[in-house]
């Protein structure tokens, strides 16, 4: 697991040597890293913890708005705002997680997706505007992060890239540690059978809430990073496009196949750009691709790799 | 009538049945004995197409039926009557019985079978409109057997029909099985309450750790020291 991650991030780290001069390419690489974290968090909650949470994009947007609002309204340093935003998002995650504790499958999906659905009207409403969301206009001026005399703004993409890389490495490492820890085992037990897990003394309640808190914290943190990088926010993030893209990342990488989600994110972002010449046919092809991938590669790229590489090596990869 | 040759069955990674060969002749009641978890139910389910991974040969009335789907088997007259009954709880007794006659083979005989079943189980006749989930254990067991009979099957695989029943109800169930057999049905029976059931059986197989370890008449089985444990252990 860690070897794959090291390789992926290692390759990512040297890519600016080749495309560092092209803002467009750097932007794509940065978005790869940002979505990699968001998709990994989703994988942790859905693939490992087995909770059908559909609120991932909502948490991302909550984090982004929170960080922007903290840095603008309170005038605090964007880094502090990001961490605060992470905490706010974690709180939101716990809040959403609580009613989900008693629910099953498609109901959890609905409740979490409801958060997604309601977020847009909320951000646009009077309440949202009072908080500083800018209503329907969005927030068009968000201060960039400045650290050690470097400005991590949209016109300094190489700096942003390495900051994003550092963030992605840290977040992925946390996710990996969680999966390998006793938590990971508990999740597996929970996924197999709630009753069985209970007999082992695993408290479903505690772990599920904890995974909601952790994934939303990381997602919110990255959302904050996104806000300060792009420098503007609008509710258009909540369209169906991003949601579907994230889902494709997960399908492509393999659900519950961490670090497959990272690979999935990178391939989806890049693949989506490569399909751009198709114009209106792009989403058509994407949709068909999802169908074919789920049928032919049910465990995603990661599953394919594991079946390609001899079993022992795969085991090593998994063990790290 | 039915013959298995070198039958193997698997659940996921677990190899449950090993090279099982057994035979049931027309009109016979064959009793399958053995400790719990050694593959008796799996054998019945393998015959009835309810186990995904099976190899070896099953021949029924001279035709190979290995890996045929359950609905085809039911249509050919093989029915499984489950130990845990598997009734449709939110439906009435009558609906359960009608669903028992779902296969094409059973549909044409539905009326006749319904009359016969109500004759066999007069208590069901009085409770046609009752929901299956509200029935007592004994009644539900009767309903499960009755539903199996509705399939117009010639070959009944009955899985532990007396499980969880009080002694007097057990006797009733066994009497009914005897009556069914008398009416011409062939029965492969998995049971653990030997003393009462043994007299029903024409022959006995013993299945241990997925292998057949004994075959013979009840009298022969009773003479086997080794099997006494199984007999009395129940």
């Amino acid at each position: 697991m860690s070897a794959t991650m090291a390789l992926v991030f290692g390759i990512m780290a040297v890519l600016p040597l080749f495309v560092g001069g092209t803002a467009h390419m750097m932007h794509i690489l940065i978005m790869c890293l940002i979505w990699a974290v968001v998709a990994s968090c989703w994988d942790l909650i859905m693939g490992f913890a087995g909770i059908f949470s559909f609120g991932q994009v909502a948490f991302f947007v909550i984090g982004a708005y929170a960080s922007a609002i903290f840095s603008i309204q309170l005038g605090i340093h964007p880094l502090a705002a990001m961490v605060l935003a992470g905490l706010v998002t974690a709180a939101a995650g716990v809040l959403v997680g609580l009613p989900c504790m008693r629910l099953k499958g498609a109901y959890i999906a609905l409740v979490t997706f409801a958060v997604h659905m309601i977020l847009e009207p909320f951000l646009k409403s009077g309440m949202g505007r009072a908080l500083g969301t800018g209503g329907t206009r969005g927030i068009l001026t968000i201060p960039p992060m400045e650290l050690f005399g470097i400005t991590f703004a949209a016109d300094n993409k190489i700096a942003v890239f390495y900051a994003a890389l550092a963030l992605a490495v840290i977040c992925s490492a946390i996710i990996m540690l969680v999966i390998r820890s006793s938590w990971g085992t508990a999740f597996l037990a929970l996924k197999d059978s709630q009753d069985f897990a209970a007999s082992l003394g695993v408290s479903a309640f505690k772990y599920k809430l904890a995974v909601f808190a952790l994934t939303s914290f990381l997602t919110g943190l990255v959302g904050g990073f996104y806000a300060h990088y792009i420098g503007m926010l609008s509710t258009r993030l909540l369209g169906i496009d991003l949601f579907v893209m994230l889902m494709i990342m997960l399908v492509l990488g393999g659900i519950g196949q961490f670090p497959g989600a990272i690979l999935g994110a990178i391939m989806t972002v890049i693949g989506n750009e490569m399909l751009a010449p198709l114009g209106a046919y792009r989403p058509l092809v994407l949709g068909a691709l999802v169908v074919v991938l789920v049928l032919l590669l049910p465990d995603g790229i990661m599953g394919l790799l594991r079946s390609l590489v001899p079993h022992k090596v795969a085991e090593q990869v998994r063990q790290g | 009538m039915l013959k298995t040759t070198d039958l193997n069955a698997y659940y996921d990674q677990f190899h449950v049945l090993h090279q099982v060969s057994c035979e049931v002749h027309e009109g016979e009641v064959v009793l399958m004995l053995g400790p719990n978890g050694h593959g008796k139910s799996t054998l019945l389910k393998s015959i009835c197409g309810l186990v995904h991974k099976v190899d070896g040969a099953i021949v029924y009335k001279g035709e190979a039926i290995t890996r045929l789907s359950t609905e085809k088997l039911v249509n050919r007259g093989i029915i499984y009557i489950a130990e845990n009954r598997e009734l449709f709880g939110e439906m009435t007794v009558l609906e359960n019985l009608k669903l028992g006659a779902y296969s094409r083979n059973a549909r044409k005989a539905e009326k006749k079978n319904l009359a016969r079943v109500f004759e066999l189980f007069p208590r069901l006749a009085t409770r046609k409109k009752q929901l299956a989930s509200t029935m007592s254990g004994g009644e539900a067991r009767m309903l499960a057997i009755a539903r199996g009979l509705m399939s117009n099957a010639d070959f009944l695989c009955i899985d532990e029909p007396s499980l969880g029943l009080q002694p007097n109800l057990r006797i009733e169930v066994f009497n009914i099985i005897r009556e069914i057999n008398r009416q011409g049905k062939t029965i492969l029976l998995v049971e653990q309450n030997i003393p009462q059931i043994a007299e029903l059986a024409g022959r006995i197989y013993v299945l241990e750790e997925g292998c057949i370890t004994f075959e013979g008449t009840p009298e022969a089985a009773a003479r086997e020291e080794r099997l006494k444990e199984i007999f009395l252990g129940m």
Binding site: T22, M25, H27, P121, K124, T136, S234, L237, E273, A280 | -
Partner: protein
Amino acid sequence: MKKLGLFILICSAIVMGTISAHAADVIKVGVPLAMTGPYTDTGDNYWKGIKMAIDEINAAGGLLGKQLDPVRFDTQEFAPERVMQGADYLCGQEKVDSVHAGWAGWGQDVRAYGKYTAPFFADDGSQAAVDVFREDPKKYANIFQLTDTDINQATSMFNVLMALPHDYPNKKVVIINADDAWGMGVGDTLEANFKKEGWEVALREVVPYGTREWGSIMTRVRRIKPAIIHVEIVSAPEVITFFRQFMRTPTPSILSYGYSIVPREVVQTMGKEADGLIGEVPTAMPTPEAPTPEAQAWVERFTGIWKHQPQAGSWAAYSGVKAWAAAVVAVGDEKNHAAVAKHISTEGYKGETGWWKWDEDNVMRGGGDVPFGHYQVQNGEMVTIFTDPPVKPYKDYKFITPRWIK
């Protein structure tokens, strides 16, 4: 593991391979529009105008002897990073010499394209975009708006409503708008204007897109019996269902649809049924008879190519391309972005209806030769009844009292 590494290398190689060399004798023109998703419809309107302008220029021998080569980019749903990516792709990587958009991000686009120098034409119609521009007019000198802001358009709608040759039975108005930036901007402005004139805003409803059942609003409308109902939702199904449900038991109210009259389906679907509705289009080509022979010829060319009447946005986007081309010819160098932009903002451009002049905010303000058009549906077609500012009747076309007002 090796296979994985190889795979990633191949992927990145393919990506880098897409940066291919281009011939030097073309001028690349960026066209970021919604090609997929819910905004596809408007994107299509703009594209038809832009394509027509580019084809005309190319057919006439190109610009400075070079052919124009449109590079399209799908802005999808205008998520912030998507808007930025469009700018990075078109200006940063493809190095286009001008960008022609329509709806482009309502302020987000100004930020994204302001980082580059290529002249950028948008049809945002949004005060938010102007506010961003004003933060740093020098930096954003390449940003041009083809239409006036929501605030000014709404004020124009209000002025025309007040100027209608119609006796309002009372001073009550109902305002219904969509919950997007445009709808809110128009709704807020109208509300303020009506209140200032001593009207009662008896009902102000903000509704989400996708609303099809208006029963609960109609109940209240029937009680209020307002003199004016203004609906501002730029989406055909919403406004058509509203109209049909209103017509079951109509109140004697002027139905003002503002910019929501624009989706072609409104007139196409309802035909004469829609007679009486009024609406507004900025940077509009007046119909059925254009103000000048050149303009009339343009309408006929457009109809000839695309087989339908031009819709709002087509002409604005077309004119954006032509204005830029004229400036390039005047400057003599398409690469001198600053000079081209300066020429556009100082000299303007002479189009089919007359002069286009951008103001100090690089906004094409309504008025002069390119006024706001105010329409009424008559006999199943949109007819210009007023232009503004100043509010004056257009040619001989007259407002007709809607049939539901006795």
